[in-house]
């Protein structure tokens, strides 16, 4: 039924490669404004395609939809195969949404080498969409790993003072993880009958020992990306040094890929190993929630604080995934989406004041609510959403994860609750120090409030905060069949 009229249009390929084609055209353009508008309009078109995808998506089935498949390297069983299910379509949408927001966020912030920056943005957009759509492991890996190139350049060229260190750290951490992932892929390839087709590989029952080893290889790759404690140290550096758009992409989409990897590969392909390692995963997640939260409490640098809070929040997501309960996994996926929206918005707003004051030091601010009230309100709402206040998106995800976890692992669930408390402490701390109190920042009078461009980035994100917070049903119903199918696959345990 879905898109049956347009069944022959390779909609996913268009979605993925439109930014790439645009990236090839950017060098031919002249004039900075033209480059900005061109990139912006391309990504808006891409976003509209993603919206169309979401609207026509059939949420009664767990089948892959909009599937395209052509042989790529036939002799090795590699094909160019794309398709989306309930989980991936949501992240395709999130990626496409954050895409054009990133362009707007960099409108004036990026002054040097604008063309190259926009090329990087377009390239990374293409690759991220590719990761979420790929149904062939080799293709997935190509997108996954190629993403390092533009991200490395975005941090390294347009980042802060210590950007080179941060870019190297980001690249090498991720590369090392990814390469082990590659070996894991190859082992699965030979064990699964020489095919890279993800759906075919899911159908195979692998040996118990093989599952354990492959799980470890995958775990290292995904744990770096998520990031899970103790592989998290690259994240604060990368976030602090990256330009605003880089931080939004990192927090909004890149971190999701680790969790997406667990959902797409570890859980359905390696169910025995997933169950075997579940206590470890729950434990690591609990540690990440509390440890990340405490680290966030101690930060003075606002970007660093949000980075550590991301580690804490991502811990909640991995916790939810490894409970193998319907509430837990649904909450985890919802939380992934939320985290993309909320943290993306926070980095966006931090970028807005940073552009005006060039300070990331929390105590240096104060009284922003008086100076720039609209900004203050937006910032406050996103902080509350990050805190998971009822009525915002964060609440839905967090409550689902916690309700899924209690009964499975009470210690980890308690860690989740503790994490929420610590989260309230540091997020309210930001609120108090930056928005209330006396105006401390020099030249405060000259700071202007959100302009139209910035408003148009923040408003859609605000919309999702409340939509998900007040009426999450559409999102839940998209996820329901897919996650039910996932749990079925995960329960296929025992030899």
């Amino acid at each position: 039924m879905t898109g049956s009229l347009l069944i022959d249009v390779p909609i996913l390929s268009i979605l993925i490669f439109l930014p790439a084609v645009a990236a090839l055209l950017v060098p031919l353009l002249s004039g900075d404004n033209l480059v900005r508008w061109f990139t912006f309009s391309v990504l808006v078109v891409d976003f509209m395609i993603a919206c169309w995808l979401l609207i026509t998506f059939d949420n009664t089935t767990a089948q892959m939809q909009f599937v395209e498949s052509t042989p790529w390297v036939a002799s090795l069983g590699i094909s160019y195969k794309l398709g989306v299910d309930g989980v991936s379509v949501l992240f395709v949408f999130l990626t496409a949404l954050l895409g054009w927001i990133c362009v707007l966020a960099s409108w004036t912030a990026i002054k040097k080498r604008l063309k190259e920056f926009m090329i990087c943005l377009l390239a990374i957009q293409c690759l991220m969409l590719g990761v979420f759509c790929a149904l062939d492991l080799f293709l997935f890996y190509v997108f996954w790993e190629a993403m390092l190139i533009p991200m490395y350049l975005i941090i390294g060229i347009w980042g802060g003072d210590n950007r080179i260190y941060a870019a190297f750290k980001f690249f090498l951490y991720t590369l090392t993880g990814s390469l082990l992932f590659l070996i894991g892929i190859l082992v699965l390839y030979f064990a699964g009958g020489r095919t890279f087709d993800i759906l075919a590989l899911m159908a195979v029952q692998y040996d118990y020992d093989l599952q354990l080893w492959v799980f470890i290889a995958f775990l290292i790759a995904f744990a770096v990306k998520v990031p899970m404690v103790p592989m998290h140290t690259w994240l604060p550096d990368a976030h602090v040094q990256a330009p605003t758009a880089g931080s939004i992409i990192l927090a909004g989409v890149l971190l999701k890929m680790g969790a997406y990897g667990f959902i797409r590969f570890s859980l359905p392909m390696l169910p025995d190993a997933s169950h075997y390692f579940a206590p470890l995963m729950q434990g690591l997640s609990g540690v990440a929630i509390v440890y990340g939260g405490f680290l966030a409490l101690a930060q003075q640098d606002i970007k660093k604080l949000i980075a550590y809070s991301s580690i804490s929040h991502m811990g909640l997501i991995t916790l939810g995934l490894f409970t193998f309960t319907e509430n837990g996994t649904t909450g985890a996926v919802i939380q992934m989406f939320n985290h993309g929206i909320t943290t993306g918005a926070l980095f966006l707003l931090i970028g807005v004041v940073y552009e005006r004051t060039h300070s990331r030091d929390i105590p240096a601010y104060g009284g922003l609510l008086k100076v720039i009230p609209i900004y203050g309100i937006f910032f406050a709402i996103f902080l509350l959403s990050s805190m998971a206040v009822p009525g915002t998106n964060g609440f839905v995800g967090e409550i689902l994860v916690l309700s899924g976890t209690f009964g499975v692992n009470n210690w980890a669930a308690s860690a989740g609750v503790l994490g929420a408390l610590i989260g309230a402490a540091y997020l309210l701390g930001i609120y108090r120090q930056m928005l209330l109190g006396p105006i401390r920042i020099p030249g405060a009078a000259k700071i202007s409030d959100l302009n139209k461009r910035e408003l148009s980035c923040a408003l859609p994100l605000l919309l999702f905060v409340f939509w998900l917070g007040l009426y999450p049903k559409p999102f839940l119903s998209i996820l329901k069949p897919t996650l039910a199918h996932l749990l079925e696959q995960t329960m296929r345990v025992g030899l």
Partner: protein, 486 residues
């Protein structure tokens, strides 16, 4: 007995047509180099490329007719044809890069081209030879030509030093190979690889003499490849040699040496595999480790690429360990992709060259993205390809080696290999950082003449196509492996 079989001779001469064409080309170039002419370099380069083209078409024609020549000393098969493609390609691109460089360095001798063609001839003989004597002749012809070419910058002390070192160490390694060959002759009574295989099939595998013979042959050949612990010559010689010759060295002789190793040890004398497989596995890991770690601290770009080529040689040797169809295909594919990306990055170095006497510092790459965005972007592709990041050809090449390894169950080896290649990524990234982040140290106009543009273009297209559409390349390579595995 003494009757001369005219038909056989004619057949042999036709079969070695490409080699004969290259000899003629080399001689013509040698004679023409005596005639002073203002555009001598261009003329000689054109003649060289024309002759290589002629030889390539002849090879293409011959590739449909697999045959042996000169009483089984020489063979034309898909395997040798494939390697000849790499050799023709590598030499042509080297010739194209050379002109401007030589003029800039004030080298006016036209023998350069003649020597390059002789080196090509040597490597062509190596890949087609099926007789130890023939292999040795090819190795020596190639090595002698490159000794001279290494020292071609006569007034440059480093170039001279490199040439001298190369001659001494090269002669040493040749002697070791020769000794191994003589032991094999003593054991089997023949130098023909097929007959040796037959003789060895009845031989006791634990015969110390056999182990010694295998060891000597391999040590000599690994020396040519630049594997640890026989790698000491590589950095000095790469640094001192004229840049186009360094590029040539890292491609053609290495490909030829791998061809010979595959032909002797993986195909014809596969029976010896239990003797060498563990040491080759260990050496390949050591080679990768040393290459990757030593490259981290280099400040001369050519030295750095020397260590990088050592690391790549180590990765290639993993293909030997894997063996079989997959292993051989992976080595061949890797060598072809490696040709594109290495020649590409050396072309960039030649463009940035500010006089060999000053040395090629990594700092030369500073601010390249501002001076010339297109050139910087191409370097970016070559460097990421060398680091093995998709969607470049370098990734697919590495991927295929790993596939062959995992297929044979050497998963642990594959894990160590990828971890070491993550180390190696660091120094390629360092250059990229310099290009894109640092300010140019001095503003120099970048001079891109048409021939170097051609080289860069071919290298870029080759590197990218191998990554994006690897299917064709893979099928082509898989069809070129020796027929025993067909």
């Amino acid at each position: 007995m003494s009757e001369i079989d005219l038909a056989a001779i004619t057949q042999s001469v036709v079969a070695t047509g490409p080699e004969i064409i290259i000899i003629c080309g080399a001689c013509v170039a040698l004679m023409l180099s005596l005639v002073p002419h203002p555009r001598q370099h261009q003329i000689l380069a054109s003649i060289s490329i024309f002759m290589i083209g002629l030889a390539a078409s002849m090879s293409y024609f011959l590739s449909d007719y697999p045959q042996t020549a000169y009483a089984g000393m020489f063979v034309i098969d898909n395997f040798s044809s494939f390697f000849k493609i790499i050799l023709y390609l590598g030499t042509t691109l080297t010739v194209l890069m050379s002109g401007k460089y030589l003029v800039k360095e004030g080298v006016i001798q036209g023998e350069y081209y003649s020597l390059l063609l002789f080196a090509l001839l040597g490597t062509m003989i190596i890949v087609s030879a099926t007789d130890l004597l023939m292999i040795y002749i090819g190795l020596e012809l190639q090595a002698l030509s490159i000794y001279v070419l290494t020292g071609f910058l006569k007034s440059n002390a480093r170039s001279n030093e490199a040439a001298l070192k190369y001659i001494i160490l090269g002669a040493f390694s040749s002697a070791i190979i020769l000794y191994g060959m003589s032991l094999f002759y003593g054991l089997t009574g023949t130098t023909n690889l097929n007959q040796m295989a037959a003789a060895l099939s009845t031989q006791d595998q634990s015969d110390p003499m056999l182990i010694l013979a295998t060891g000597f042959m391999l040590v000599g050949l690994l020396f040519k490849v630049g594997a640890v612990p026989f790698h000491m010559w590589v950095p000095d010689i790469y640094e001192g040699a004229p840049s186009p010759i360094t590029a040539y060295m890292s491609v053609a002789p290495k490909a030829a040496a791998f061809a010979v190793i595959i032909r002797i040890f993986v195909v014809d004398l596969a029976i010896l595999q239990p003797i060498w497989i563990f040491s080759i596995a260990a050496i390949s890991l050591l080679t990768m480790a040393l290459g990757s770690f030593a490259a981290l601290v280099q400040n001369n770009i050519k030295r750095m690429l020397a260590y990088s080529s050592i690391a790549h040689a180590g990765f290639l040797m993993l293909g030997l360990v894997a063996g079989g169809t997959g292993g051989i295909t992976s080595i061949m594919l890797y060598l072809l992709v490696y040709t594109f990306m290495t020649i590409g990055i050396f072309a960039v170095i030649i463009v940035l060259n500010k006089g060999a006497s000053r040395g090629e510092s990594i700092e030369d790459f500073c601010g390249l993205a501002q001076n010339n965005p297109a050139l910087a972007f191409m370097s970016l592709i070559f460097l990421f390809s060398l680091a093995g990041i998709p969607p470049t050809g370098g990734f697919f090449a590495k991927f295929y080696v790993l596939t062959a390894l995992v297929d044979k169950g050497y998963v642990e080896l594959a894990v160590v290999a990828v971890l070491l290649s993550a180390v190696a990524a660091w120094f390629y990234l360092r250059i990229i950082m310099l290009m894109y982040v640092k300010q140019p140290t001095e503003h120099t106009a970048i001079d891109l003449n048409p021939s170097i543009r051609t080289v860069l273009l071919i290298a870029t297209i080759g590197t990218l196509l191998a990554g994006l559409l690897p299917a064709w390349l893979l099928d082509f390579t898989a069809n070129s492996i020796p027929s025993v595995f067909g």
